[in-house]
């Protein structure tokens, strides 16, 4: 067997990983993402040791010391009519109210970190849901064809044609008002599970379609025919032959969907149907900042910038994964 090159067996995944590791911009993105995730995870310590406030507790009548004076966290605005209340502005250095306070007198910087936890959690779990659902429906529709395919395609088309925000808004209105009550499953309205499941569902068609197309091709491939010829059961074929070949596509889509979910979560929160107060996400902080935009624009700008950075990093990582794993994978959004 002189033809076989004498090097350790190179699995598909090992090869892909090596390729990814050599991609400098993808690696920088991973670094940025790790940094963001770690800082968000450090939120409790930040709140305790740096900002010295509980970012989930209203501080409407408190005062803090600044430049040797006691300053109201929410003070009357300085105008002839004494009209309006202004939250304290950014201090500009590490410490309490580094980025200022929001309308409830809470530390914006601490909320950004906590909000990031929620944003990232929602986006990632929703992405997992999307990918699993899309993988399932795409594989089942593509592999079994016939009536099942027709039914799934119809459902996906309906979901696709249903305007994304509308679906999200409609579902949110129902679910947020009442929570979800299906048999033994009881979801409280304030649970993160609601935005997660809403966001998780709306993008299923976007991923299921390309997967279905891939599976349709795989279904005709000779190695699947070979498996049929051996007598393998359909489920065995799906599990052993189809899934391993679809999973790379799914992995390529993962960061892109997470990025998309971050944007969607922000948009939903902007329409005030995402994360419920006092929990925060970057989207809800932008929403809170909306009503302060003329006096304290930073409250809306800062979370927006964090979203942009995270989404860019995820997109670059997605490009890197695609080059490494499945150059043909295309996600139409």
């Amino acid at each position: 067997m002189t033809e076989v090159k004498q090097r350790p067996a190179q699995g598909y995944w090992a090869l892909a990983l090596r390729k990814l590791m050599r991609n400098r911009s993808a690696m920088i993105s991973v670094l940025v993402l790790v940094l963001i995730v770690l800082s968000c995870l450090s939120a409790p310590w930040y709140a305790k040791y740096v900002s010295h406030t509980n970012p989930f507790q209203s501080n409407l009548s408190g005062t803090i010391m600044r430049h040797g004076h006691a300053v109201e966290v929410l003070g009357a605005a300085d105008n002839p009519l004494k009209l309006g209340i202004e939250p304290i502005g950014p201090s500009g250095r590490l410490g309490p109210y580094m980025l200022g306070a929001d309308q409830q007198g809470r530390d914006v910087a601490a909320r950004l970190l906590y909000g990031g936890q929620n944003s990232l959690l929602i986006s990632s779990i929703a992405a997992i849901i999307t990918l699993i659902l899309a993988g399932l429906t795409g594989i089942i529709a593509g592999f079994f064809g016939g009536f099942i395919d027709a039914a799934i395609t119809w459902a996906l088309d309906a979901l696709w044609a249903f305007p994304v925000f509308l679906l999200a808004i409609s579902l949110s209105v129902v679910l947020i008002a009442h929570g979800l009550d299906i048999g033994p499953l009881r979801l409280d309205a304030s649970s993160l599970a609601l935005p997660i499941s809403i966001i998780g569902i709306i993008y299923v068609p976007y991923v299921a379609r390309p997967i279905r197309a891939t599976v349709l091709t795989l279904r005709q491939s000779e190695f699947v025919l070979a498996a049929i010829g051996i007598g393998a059961s359909p489920w065995r074929i799906v599990w052993r032959d189809i899934l391993p070949n679809v999973i790379s596509t799914i992995i390529v889509f993962a960061p892109l969907i997470i990025a998309l979910n971050l944007l969607t979560e922000a948009a939903l929160s902007f329409l005030s149907i995402g994360v419920q107060a006092p929990a925060a996400s970057w989207g809800t902080i932008i929403h809170d900042g909306e009503s302060l935009i003329y006096t304290r624009p930073l409250v809306a700008i800062a979370p927006g910038l964090l979203i942009v950075v995270t989404v860019i990093a995820l997109n670059i990582l997605g490009d890197g994964l695609r080059d490494a794993l499945d150059p043909r994978a295309k996600l139409r959004l």
Partner: protein
């Protein structure tokens, strides 16, 4: 009769949808009958698109059959499905054309070859491992191949892996669907030799699909020539290739770029044009638009297979063996 495989009037129709062009019925295989005896190798030749691969896959029941019957080892398997088909499949295995596409790129060679054993619950883990190793050595590969991935092998080696997989269940019949056409010429011979050796050692029967007549001549006992979904000539290799009765067989032989003492350059006939669209086959004899000897009868009446004196069968109104050559044009 004690045939291993009997195919009767096998027909396979596809309905294809072409976007906004609407539905079309394609008659890929149209009423084919033949049989294979145990240990016999039947070659199946024809241009690409003539339906020979479809025929092979119908027999292996990778595709559902539209009508007709396939009887394997005394069992009618035409309508058997799923679970009932599984024990039959052990006796009837396939080798595919493209050694790059027929092996799952995400699985190790050991797993690929062991897969049939898993599916049919042949023995425990240890027995399987031993069996896979012996299969590998049977096809000329070393045990180090077990943990490697298909992409690490050359085309010939990959086809050996495919053969090892087909052999795993000790089949009686192997349907080899153009097993060497994707390989380099030098490697082709090795694989053909391997297949011939296996036939001899194990008493395998082959349905050997190819468009390369040379390979068929080398391995097959009998040969069937297919044109546009139907068999136009079938018989022992020597007589069919020696003195083709059907003009199409003759044209195929003439297209082979090897020196053939039986025919002078002047005599060679060439196939004009492309094969007709199977969705819209010509009337009468499907070959008539491309046939130099076509008569009015050929245009209207579909010829049926009939047995000639030497025992072979042909579907031609005017078999070449019974007639003089046409005048030089």
């Amino acid at each position: 009769m004690n045939n291993l495989l009997e195919v009767r009037d096998l027909t396979k129709h596809y309905t294809s949808r072409h976007g906004f062009a609407g539905k079309r019925v394609v008659r890929a295989v149209n009423g084919v009958s033949f049989e294979i005896a145990p240990g016999e190798a039947l070659g199946l030749v024809g241009e690409s698109g003539c339906g020979k691969s479809t025929l092979g896959r119908c027999i292996a029941r990778l595709y559902n059959v539209t009508s007709g019957s396939v009887t394997f080892d005394g069992t009618d398997i035409t309508r058997l499905g799923g679970r009932a088909l599984r024990p039959i499949r052990a006796g009837l295995q396939m080798i595919f054309q493209d050694p790059y596409a027929s092996l799952n790129p995400r699985r190790r060679v050991g797993e690929i070859i062991a897969e049939p054993l898993h599916v049919h619950h042949r023995g425990n883990k240890a027995a399987m491992t031993a069996r896979v190793a012996s299969l590998l050595s049977d096809v000329g590969l070393g045990p180090e191949a077990l943990t490697r991935f298909p992409h690490e092998f050359s085309g010939g080696q990959r086809q050996r892996i495919g053969i090892a997989r087909a052999l795993a269940l000790d089949p009686k019949l192997i349907i080899a669907d153009e097993p060497v056409s994707a390989l380099d010429v030098s490697v082709q011979a090795q694989i053909v030799n391997l297949l011939a050796d296996l036939q001899r050692d194990r008493g395998l029967a082959y349905l050997f699909i190819a468009h390369d007549l040379g390979v068929v001549r080398q391995i097959a006992d009998r040969v069937a020539v297919m044109y546009l979904g139907g068999i136009v000539e079938i018989g022992p290799v020597a007589s069919v290739f020696g003195s083709p009765a059907h003009p199409y067989t003759r044209a195929l032989l003439d297209a082979v770029p090897v020196a053939d003492p039986a025919l002078t350059h002047r005599d060679r006939i060439r196939l004009a044009g492309d094969p007709p669209n199977p969705a819209n086959p010509p009337s009468g004899c499907a070959f008539h638009p491309r046939c130099a000897w076509a008569t009015a009868e050929c245009r209207t009446v579909k010829p049926l297979l009939r047995t000639l004196a030497d025992g072979r069968e042909t579907a031609c109104h005017h078999p070449l063996t019974a007639r003089v050559e046409p005048a030089d044009r």
